[in-house]
Subunit: 411 residues, 2 copies
């Protein structure tokens, strides 16, 4: 018998307890040993919960119990999760988490601490919810030099964009709907401003490229500036708008990493990833393009990934499975102003088309029903962000230029 | 340093040698130890090959060399691959393979033999080429009861159907084109009759449901009867025709497993998997639907999966990682005549629509440009294969009924 302790009895934590109980027999078979939840740590009162006898309020109980093999941290946020994780690892207990903020911020340190103490720090659920992506990236694609990782990493924004595209809702209306359905939080900033997707691309980058990438170093743009006009112009170009996190290797071994709304051609499989689903594409130098798809959040899907980690941790109770990644001061990031992409640009003003041509040279104009005479939108030739900014500056002298978006082009 | 021996220097075997050399440093980093190819076993003459000094003609050399940790079997077919695999495992060497025929036929025995000899038998490349699917299914979804697995498991037939759909080529013309491009073999039976997809769904079923499923017990239908008329009717119903391998758990724990062409609604992500790409969907009771996508064949993609297995085998040189599956005489298969599905039925004859209604009751008729007056096609209500066969029998008394196809409905 192996024992787990679950920290935090919220959506994910209670899902973990449920999955471990519901699938007890098959987990025992797959793990080679039965797994039971011995403690649930939560400061709130759960005396009427069916698991009332498992609750403790003090993490020290877990820390001091040599029977506990695995600590499941589903508290979220930095504190007290960071402190509890360090104490668990120092006590030689593996830690499994869905906490992307903690992994993106302190992952390198916690992985090193796990190694020092011959235990493991696993975080399959921190990216893509239930989608198997961390293990496939580390193990199944271990024979590849990874050249690019990109994905729809946030279900809330994907749901909102989807409702704008298929339901004709404005951003504000779609956000309200997502909040009513429980897909978006009351304070939606972490999702709609792109911070959640940013943390996830940081984790994927560290795994794919071997160096910690800190969220504050990644240029991050959310979806708050996307309008129904943009949606209509994209449709006219046979594209949809998706919030993508991207990390791409440069020829000299650095990486571009950024988060932002993109126009994605409908011919790309990822353009069909809808609703709260997530999807991650990985390009390797041997395998080519692969894609992983599934529910990016939710109680049981996230618990599925957490419990897979628990099983793995129970199978490796006295060795460290992954080497982790380096935490160097020298950044692996290339200047994202050098990244070359075609851009979608929407403009309004007098003689708008000639002004656009004057600034950008030849472009492909898009159209939409009900467009005003003084507005236009176009797709530019590929250029660096630096070049784009210069041209936008010229154009802004005579016109209003709305937030440009990159156009995804996978060669 | 760990040593591998590659058996068979064909497309996949030479790809394995290439990937191990090209990505030598990163593989050493990911594996925790450098990996070198020590022998290539092939009876043909490769004296002018850059690797000429590695070639041996007799497998006994590999078998007798205690330095060889992993044997890579990329010969294909049952003989002599079966014999070499058994001898390698008995010598305590892990075996890694892309040989779906051997795994589907003798997998249970070879996994047991690996266990007896504290080594491993890995076959990530046997399903879905480069797509990580075996490990995700066994490890990442280990907390789930798997309820359904289905996929586009054969790139050749997917390419052919795609060319019929987008290029308007007949089956014969699309097959010829696939042969010219090297996507189909001169004798295409294994692909177009569905046998290759059948082997793969057998392997996935064994992994997902824990019992060996023998290919000859799985009802298998290829794509040779699919016509451009069918393609046009499917398009009218907003569907495309795909060859799917499917395995689905019944309520009493048995499974339906079969291979056949399906009409797939365009709203399903899998309908957008085109060309030689493969895709596998797995439905678990916690995670919900997940999908894995990538190149299902080809030198380097397949080698990517094989070398991932080589790395894993080198990291586990004295323990057996997977329990394998049971090989019981009692079949786990349910009678596929009981499987309930809506069907696509194309019919010609006098008073054809009323004959169809007479046999099937209410149906949804489809249309196509240029349809003859005496033909029609429809989607039936859901029914068992047994019921379908009875109704087709009635209809056949007055009409010609072409091969019906299942309509995919994922609830």
């Amino acid at each position: 018998m192996k024992y787990a302790a679950v920290l935090g009895y919220g959506t994910v934590g209670s899902g973990v307890v449920e999955v471990i109980e519901t699938n007890f027999d098959l987990i025992a078979k797959n793990a080679g040993d039965a797994i039971k939840v011995k403690y649930i740590v939560d400061i709130r009162d759960f005396s009427n919960d069916p698991h009332a006898d498992l609750f403790v309020k003090d993490f020290a109980t877990v820390e001091a119990d040599p029977e506990v093999n695995v600590v499941v941290e589903t508290i979220g946020g930095i504190n007290p999760a960071y402190d509890f994780t360090k104490r668990a690892l120092k006590a030689g207990k593996s830690v499994v988490t869905s906490n992307k903020e903690l992994v993106a911020t302190h992952g390198a340190e916690l992985l090193a601490l796990a190694k020092e103490n011959s235990c493991n720090y696993f975080f399959e659920a921190s990216v893509g919810g239930g989608i198997p992506i961390i293990r496939p990236l580390c193990q199944c694609l271990a024979a590849n030099r990874v050249d690019e990782v990109l994905g729809i990493l946030n279900g809330t924004t994907n749901y909102i964009l989807n409702r704008m595209i298929t339901g004709g809702l404005t951003f504000e209306a779609a956000l309200s709907e997502a909040q009513e359905k429980g897909y978006a939080e009351r304070n939606p900033a972490a999702d709609v401003e792109g911070h959640d997707a940013c943390r996830k691309i940081c984790i994927l980058s560290a795994l794919a490229f071997g160096r910690h990438v800190y969220p504050d170093a990644v240029v991050t743009e959310g979806i708050t500036k996307v309008t129904l006009e943009d949606v209509a112009y994209a449709e006219n170009g046979d594209m949809v708008i998706k919030l993508l996190g991207r990390a791409k290797r440069t020829e000299d071994g650095k990486i571009y990493a950024f988060v932002g709304p993109h126009l994605v051609p409908k011919s790309e499989l990822i353009s069909n990833v809808n609703g709260v689903f997530n999807s991650v594409m990985v390009r390797g130098n041997a395998v080519g393009d692969t894609m992983f798809y599934g529910r990016g959040a939710g109680k049981l899907p996230t618990a599925s990934a957490v419990v897979a980690d628990v099983i793995d941790a129970c199978q490796h109770t006295d060795c460290t499975k992954y080497a982790g990644w380096e935490d160097t001061t020298e950044s692996i990031l290339a200047d994202s102003n050098d990244f070359v992409s075609a851009y979608y640009v929407r403009v309004s003003g007098e003689s708008v088309r000639s002004a656009v041509n004057n600034a950008f040279g030849e472009v492909s104009f898009l159209s939409r029903d009900g467009a005003k005479a003084d507005e236009c939108a176009c797709i530019t030739a590929p250029m660096s962000k630096r070049e784009l900014d210069e041209k936008v500056k010229i154009l802004s002298e005579s016109c209003v230029v709305y937030a440009p978006m990159k156009v995804l082009a996978l060669d």
